[in-house]
Symmetry: C2
Subunit: 223 residues, 2 copies
């Protein structure tokens, strides 16, 4: 039997950081929905009510968790890169790598839209890359937003839809085809042989390269 430790004067057992740590650890094992205040308290060996001394509410906690994930994106690899195209690729890969590490955290975005402050910090190297490409002012702004959207959107899509997609494609494709119009059916049937080979890594690279080529093409058409 272990004796439950008690707080001694000025030394609380809990802290914001400890709660966020535990939430992040839990989110690597279980989906967002199951990370309840009660479960969190249990894992921290305390009561749900005790958590509220350190966090305002559950939404606030999830914001802190998201912030933690975003600030953990490692962009050091970009520092000595001289080609802006390769910089953008490295940026996109770094963001994706971190998000795929915490897929359940990525789903918070949808439950609770909140742009973390850390995102500003992460965006800086991306802006540098686009400046190296010769962009500034509104064009820089638009291109940056476009690139961020494509990268974040792709990752969101990958994490949230891909699993369901593959299941549907493999198991239910035939059933789904029954309900389609003849034209839709013909289009999909042609593609059935290619459906199985979903490779998310390759698709991500393909998408990023597509956008980078688009940016390049916009640049050269201006000159």
């Amino acid at each position: 039997m272990s004796i439950k430790p008690r707080a001694v004067r000025g030394r609380p057992l809990l802290s914001q950081a400890k709660i966020v740590d535990k939430a992040l650890a839990l989110l690597q094992k279980i989906p967002l929905k199951e990370v309840t205040m009660r479960r969190l308290a249990q894992e921290l060996d305390t009561t749900p009510a005790a958590l509220y001394a350190y966090i305002k509410n559950q939404q606030d906690l999830f914001n802190a968790v998201t912030e933690r994930v975003i600030s953990g994106i490692d962009l050091r690899d970009l520092d000595h890169e001289t080609d802006w195209r390769e910089m953008l690729r490295k940026w996109a890969r770094a963001v994706r790598e971190r998000q795929l590490q915490f897929p359940h955290v990525t789903t918070i975005v949808q439950v609770n839209p909140h742009t973390p402050v850390a995102w500003f910090e992460i965006t800086e190297p991306q802006l540098r890359a686009l400046q190296m490409a010769g962009l500034s002012g509104y064009a820089l702004m638009d291109t940056s937003r476009c690139f961020s959207r494509v990268v974040l959107g792709s990752i969101l899509n990958e994490i949230m839809l891909e699993a369901a997609m593959i299941r549907l494609e493999r198991e239910d494709a035939d059933a789904a085809l029954e309900h389609l119009s003849p034209r839709g059916r013909a289009a999909i049937e042609n593609l059935l042989p290619y459906l199985g080979d979903q490779d998310n890594d390759a698709l991500f690279e393909f998408t990023i390269n597509c956008v980078i080529r688009g940016i390049e093409s916009a640049l050269s058409s201006e000159h």
Copy 2:
């Protein structure tokens, strides 16, 4: 005082379709979280338990709602288009228009990832456009997935993040800057004058055109 109608033999008051109708109507006014079984029952002038005769559970209901939104995407405008680039643009705009009409439904995707069967049907004209561009086999598959991801990702991003983003940019940008590294700060400060003019329509067009140029560029580099 109105008298509550009662079901007479073989003519139930409720139906799947009526429940989905009401859910969709509600979702135009209130966010997903507030569309509870109790609220839905109340609006339909019945009890929560009665709903379960027509739908398996809440998740199933939300799937049906999503299906309804997706099948409502109007792609007739694409039928007589001869330029594949313009076809892709029209496809993207049609998908966005419908999703923006039901922003709260779009957030279901994240709560409950499930690719609606109707999505197959919607994808067909997009595939036709890409075939017109000269694509087939794996290249067609990859490009289609890439384009769908960019379009869906952008819309998801727009609906879920943009509101928070604008708020943050306008109100909290200064506060956020305090926490940044000097380098990040300099990068963002340069852009502050341009931050206010967020135009989602223009950004969407910009993004779509960027990807279309990327696809074009990939096509021509193969020949």
